[in-house]
């Protein structure tokens, strides 16, 4: 279900920058001690075989709504142009042929940086609570909510 949801969500969002590559290959990270299993990896792939300059203009009003930021019509226009510029600038990357390069998950080289499972109480909790305007001694008071989004 999650896989299908993924495909549905990604196809619902503006298709400008993200191409889904559904491929079947033995992950380079699996070794002989893990039984080989055919699996489908969905990897973000920025290589494109469509015309690189055809990128959809950003739907700024929708973006603003999902980010819960209110914009005036003139701000929408202004923003739209600026966002467009950034997208086009990144769009230059689409001219690079990366069809023979395996998609990287992340940019940096090293992983790690894990924490020990040792509890620590944050000393200044009181000031956190005090800074919440609607805190009522025990709970945070919020407007009555019925459903998620």
């Amino acid at each position: 279900m999650a896989t299908r949801a993924l495909l549905a969500v990604l196809s619902a969002s503006p298709p400008r920058m993200i191409r889904i590559k559904v491929s079947t290959f033995p992950s380079s990270s699996s070794s002989s001690s893990i039984k080989f299993q055919r699996h489908i990896t969905i990897a973000r792939c920025f290589s494109s075989d469509t015309n690189p300059s055809v990128l959809q203009p950003p739907d700024v009003s929708r973006l603003a709504e999902t980010a819960r930021i209110s914009l005036t019509p003139s701000e929408i226009e202004e923003c739209g142009a600026k966002i467009r510029q950034v997208i086009d600038w990144f769009g230059q990357l689409q001219q690079v042929d990366v069809s023979s390069v395996e998609p990287a998950i992340r940019a940096e080289m090293e992983g790690g940086n894990l924490r020990e499972d040792a509890p620590e109480t944050f000393e200044n909790r009181e000031s956190i609570r005090a800074s919440i305007p609607s805190f009522d001694e025990v709970y945070l008071k919020v407007p009555k909510v019925l459903n998620k989004e």
């Binding site: 998950i105 940096e108 620590e120 025990v138 945070l140 008071k141 919020v142 407007p143």
Partner: protein, 551 residues
């Protein structure tokens, strides 16, 4: 009553089976014909009148079978497991259930500006553990993503989760369906397992136009398990859920308590006419607080959807989330999903890749305990019946106890019987768990041996069991202290028999004139005289001789 003296200590299989049968919700087709009292048709009608302590019986159980002739239910389950780590996933706040609200907080889990998450090594450990236990392939490189939406219990405005590269995927789980629901093995696929954080808790006040938020739970680590849509019925779903609970408890990654919210299951269900390849419209069911509720909700939903199909109104089935109303025993619409939510997933920039080495994975694999499925197969191979197997392997502490007892050399079947009958009853009455009893596995083995070699009788064994459970002590010690050694000297037994006979001439005459049932009376008297120590078999034999002698 005196007939109990002649009974050896065996579980009352018959009782166990009939109580199981009386609880059966499915039609009598599935009932084993070992039941001797009534015909199967009688059973199903008498089922309706049995007093119920649990939820009302599914009155449509015959109806459901009719439906399942035409339609196939396609069910997938998403399980969220709250991990029993000491700290939250991305900060060092204590992870302890039941703390005073909003005391386990810090800038990281509160989403305050500038705070950065740091992943706990334990979460990765548990994730690998569970992935391996579910026979998954592990992604040696995986990452976190932000799932973005606004809600009062989500301080950051996004949940750190794993979207397209989960830590584990492509596994399966094997379960045994309980006998009363037909028995048999099933294998269900596991699509993926991924790590994520929990949100806070939202409390709705009855009065007032406000709700309340407790953020102690925000940031608590979760593992989400997504199953393949391989499940076909409420019974299968309940067993899948139980097995998830068993596995996480066996592994020690979670306490798996549905009441606490440490284990949460959401069901995705659609039906389709048998033979159709395409899936029907899928409905999500939430608010399931017990496996039995899951089963009933699924049965209800299958019936609801089938009815709409039959009425030509299949288009009334929409993709939506429904809530299970435990009081009304039905699913109700929560809201209609207007398309899928746009979570705008992107890789979490504040967290590095999660990298696993093959050595790390291998070392965890080597340290996995024997899992429920392996235990069940091993117990079956030892010759135990499936009912016993399911009971013993259900709770990891009971299984460990059992393994220790037979490890000391005790007879497998006897050990199983003691645990399943007398000891289980004691635990239930006293509301204890097996780890609380004072009777050590060593002593249970001793008890079994003492009965086996006839040092004490079975009945005496039962008596001292109770004391051993409550106060501990040794079997040998108790035998000595209470002078419980069985009397197996025929001469002594004969003496007692003769005394009883001479003291009860009236009963003797009655017996000799045909009331052979009075043998029980004499047995009882001798037992009383011997303080229960007379060997029942010998007593029986000699008594019969004497009673029938002067004929």
């Amino acid at each position: 009553m005196s007939t109990t003296l002649f009974r050896t200590i065996q579980p009352n299989h018959f009782t166990l089976l009939t109580t199981a049968l009386l609880r059966t919700r499915r039609t009598s087709r599935h009932i084993s014909v070992r039941c001797q009292t009534s015909t199967t048709t009688q059973q199903s009608s008498s089922q309706q009148q049995q007093p119920r302590t649990s939820a009302p019986k599914n009155h449509g159980s015959n109806k459901l079978d009719e439906i399942l002739k035409d339609y196939e239910a396609v069910i997938g389950i998403e399980t969220h497991v709250q991990l029993s780590t000491s700290t939250k996933a991305f900060c060092s706040c204590p992870n302890s259930y039941g703390s005073h609200p909003n005391t386990s907080i810090c800038p990281v889990c509160m989403g305050l500006p500038g705070a950065l998450p740091v992943l706990s090594s334990k979460v990765v450990d548990f994730g690998v553990r569970l992935g391996l236990a579910l026979n998954c392939s592990l992604s040696l490189k995986s990452k976190f993503d932000r799932k973005q939406y606004f809600y009062p219990d989500l301080p950051k405005g996004y949940q750190i989760s794993q979207f397209d590269v989960p830590i584990a995927s492509g596994g399966y789980v094997d379960v045994d369906i309980p006998l009363e629901f037909g028995g048999g093995h099933r294998r269900f696929g596991i699509t993926r397992v991924h790590m994520e954080e929990d949100a806070g808790k939202l409390l709705h006040s009855d009065a007032g136009d406000y709700s309340q938020v407790d953020l102690n739970r925000a940031g608590v680590p979760l593992l989400e398990i997504v199953s393949e849509p391989d499940i076909r019925s409420g019974v299968e779903a309940a067993e899948y859920g139980s097995e998830m609970q068993r596995i996480v408890r066996y592994l020690g990654v979670s306490n798996g308590n549905m009441q606490e919210g440490s284990l949460r299951c959401d069901v995705n269900i659609s039906i389709r006419p048998i033979g159709q390849a395409e899936f029907g419209t899928k409905v999500e069911i939430k608010n399931l607080n017990a496996f039995s509720a899951m089963s009933r909700a699924i049965d209800y939903e299958i019936t609801r959807q089938a009815l709409l199909y039959n009425q030509g109104q299949a288009d009334q089935i929409v993709t939506e989330t429904r809530l299970w109303d435990e009081g009304a025993q039905k699913t109700v619409t929560m809201r209609k999903k207007e398309g899928l939510a746009d979570y705008r997933y992107f890789p979490e920039p504040d967290l590095p890749e999660v990298i696993l080495t093959q050595e790390y994975v291998d070392s965890i694999r080597a340290s996995l305990p024997e899992l429920p499925e392996a235990k069940r197969r091993r117990y079956e191979a030892m010759g135990l019946g499936i009912q016993d197997v399911l009971f013993l392997a259900n709770d990891v502490s009971v299984a460990e106890y059992f393994d220790e007892v037979i490890g000391k050399g005790a007879d497998v079947k006897s050990a199983a019987n003691w645990l399943m009958s007398d000891i289980a009853a004691y635990l239930k009455n006293e509301e204890l768990s097996i780890s609380d009893v004072k009777l050590t596995p060593q002593e249970l083995a001793e008890l079994i041996a003492a009965i086996k070699d006839e040092t004490i009788s079975g009945k005496i064994g039962k008596q001292i069991l109770f004391e051993l459970l409550a106060k501990g002590g040794t079997v040998q010690g108790m035998i000595k202290e209470k002078d419980l050694v069985q009397i197996t000297d025929p001469v002594e037994i004969e003496k007692m028999i003769m005394k009883v006979i001479s003291e009860s001439p009236k009963q003797l005459e009655q017996y000799r004139s045909g009331k052979t049932k009075l043998q029980g009376f004499f047995t009882g008297q001798v037992m009383k005289m011997s303080k229960g120590k007379a060997n029942p078999a010998l007593l029986n034999k000699i008594l019969l001789e004497k009673l029938n002698a002067k004929d």
